[in-house]
């Protein structure tokens, strides 16, 4: 493989960038204009890859679209694909992440949404149902919204054990199920919540993102609202791996598609200064599971830089060498075809980028 289809969700629509060689790209006209596309995704388990785009109109509300022709056309069901049930008292604000289930569970697709809830589809991501076990959790009334809203933004299905799913919320933190969603337990041991009276509570953390690799599912990386952590036991406990980084704040964390101990971050200075440290645009990479970090900058802007990269706006493809992609709130998409060593500007002058996913084709 050497081609890629990159979905770029922005504040005002979706653009699709296509390349046969990951060097030169063609960018489609913007779709879903004036809709915030906070999450994009794809399901490549079947013979035909299915793309997802969650579009939210300020006027007409949210919906989830899918495409079976690599983004040439998009479909949605008549009835709402994701909706809270009658009597729940809740209404969908936004879809924050669309994630296919494990490969041995075809048809299952998860969606993390705002207000914080998990939905599950058994028909390939066309229609979804609320996962009641998490919605009914006694902690839920005490989860507090972060600046982005009360959202469940991260879903990490276990790659082989169909009963195990991990989710993360802002705020709320990490929760896990080992019984297919019937019951959930917090999983934040060692993760700090500096903004609470007890800085190491059972739950209530503002976790920004959790990522893992299918070949090493018990090794997890976590970008916190201040703090970068790793778990080696599937989330039972977390240890700081922030040493060597210029700052421990940020939103995305992604794991290399082939090497589980290699991960990427985009640090920001602090909660109160959400810009790159020293105003230098730098991706940080570890190749030893967080023991050391290396700044990556070749081909990235070298002047003062002030925009952030949001939690869903950095990703990899599955090619070898791996491609790394990131979108900025300044409306740029950068891509590296060599694991982050060198970067190219793919497209600029977009609305601020909310989500990026890259499908190797």
């Amino acid at each position: 493989m050497s081609g890629v289809v990159v979905l770029v969700g922005t504040r005002k629509g979706l653009v699709v960038a296509r390349s046969d060689d990951r060097v030169t790209y063609e960018v489609d006209p913007i779709a879903f204009g004036m809709n915030a596309v906070a999450s994009v995704g794809f399901d490549d388990r079947g013979p035909t890859p299915r793309l997802f785009a969650a579009a939210r109109s300020e006027h007409w509300g949210p919906s989830l679209f899918h495409s079976d022709d690599l983004g040439a056309t998009w479909s949605e069901p008549g009835a709402a694909p994701i909706a809270f049930p009658e009597g729940s008292g809740a209404a969908l604000e936004q879809v924050w992440q669309v994630v296919p289930g494990p490969r041995n569970q075809p048809g299952v697709v998860y969606a993390g949404v705002e207000p914080s809830a998990l939905f599950r589809s058994d028909d390939g991501g066309v229609t979804f149902a609320l996962v009641d076990g998490l919605w009914d959790h006694p902690h839920r009334p005490t989860w507090q919204p972060g600046a982005g809203g009360q959202c469940l933004h991260t879903v990490v299905p276990h790659p082989t054990d169909l009963d195990r799913v991990l989710v993360a919320m802002s705020t709320g933190g990490v929760y896990r199920t080992t019984d297919s969603g019937a019951s959930w337990a917090p999983s934040n041991d060692g993760v700090k919540a500096y903004f609470l009276p007890d800085p190491y509570p059972e739950y209530g953390q503002c976790v920004h993102r959790v990522a893992s690799h299918p070949e090493a599912p018990d090794q997890l990386f976590l970008q916190n609202h201040h703090g970068v952590y790793r778990s080696d036991d599937g989330g039972d406990s977390w240890q700081s791996i922030a040493e060597g980084l210029p700052a421990d704040f940020g939103f995305p964390v992604v794991v290399h598609p082939h090497r589980p101990g290699t991960a990427y971050l985009f640090p920001l200075t602090a909660d109160g200064d959400r810009m790159p440290p020293d105003r230098q645009f730098r991706v940080y990479r570890t190749e030893d599971a967080g023991s050391t970090w290396t700044p990556l900058s070749d081909g990235l802007p070298d002047g003062p830089y002030h925009a952030a990269v949001l939690r869903d706006a950095m990703c990899t493809d599955t090619d070898d060498p791996a491609g790394i992609y990131l979108g900025t709130r300044a409306g740029e998409l950068y891509a590296s075809a060599d694991e982050g060593d060198h970067w190219n500007l793919v497209v600029e002058h977009l609305p601020d980028v909310l989500s990026v996913r890259a499908l190797s084709v």
């Binding site: 006027h59 007409w60 509300g61 069901p77 009835a79 709402a80 909706a83 009658e86 008292g89």
Partner: protein, 95 residues
């Protein structure tokens, strides 16, 4: 005239088979909420763009009955009679 007409902004017409308005038989229809329920039954993708899944009119959607904003009347209970004209307008909002 026994129908109630609901006029739609251009952006919503794809959800109403391309039409600029939809009609609802006035029989059994007494309120805006009744009309919206009929519209939702006939055109679910249109209906969910006007109201959320709990039945609330979306915050930036304005609904007028014979020229009057239902928010300044009886909301979804605003009476609708035969021959009424309902107009849906996106609010001025956003950036």
């Amino acid at each position: 005239m026994t129908a109630v007409v609901m006029r739609l902004p251009g952006v919503l017409r794809p959800y109403a088979d391309g039409r600029s308005s939809v009609e609802v038989e006035a029989d059994g229809v007494q309120t805006v909420g009744d009309v919206l329920a009929r519209v939702e039954a006939d055109h679910p993708a249109l209906g969910r763009r006007l109201r959320d899944e709990q039945g609330a009119v979306r915050r930036h959607v304005n609904v007028y009955v014979d020229g009057a904003d239902i928010r300044h009347s009886q909301q979804l209970e605003t009476p609708v009679g035969p021959g009424a004209e309902i107009v849906v307008v996106p609010a001025v909002s956003g950036g």
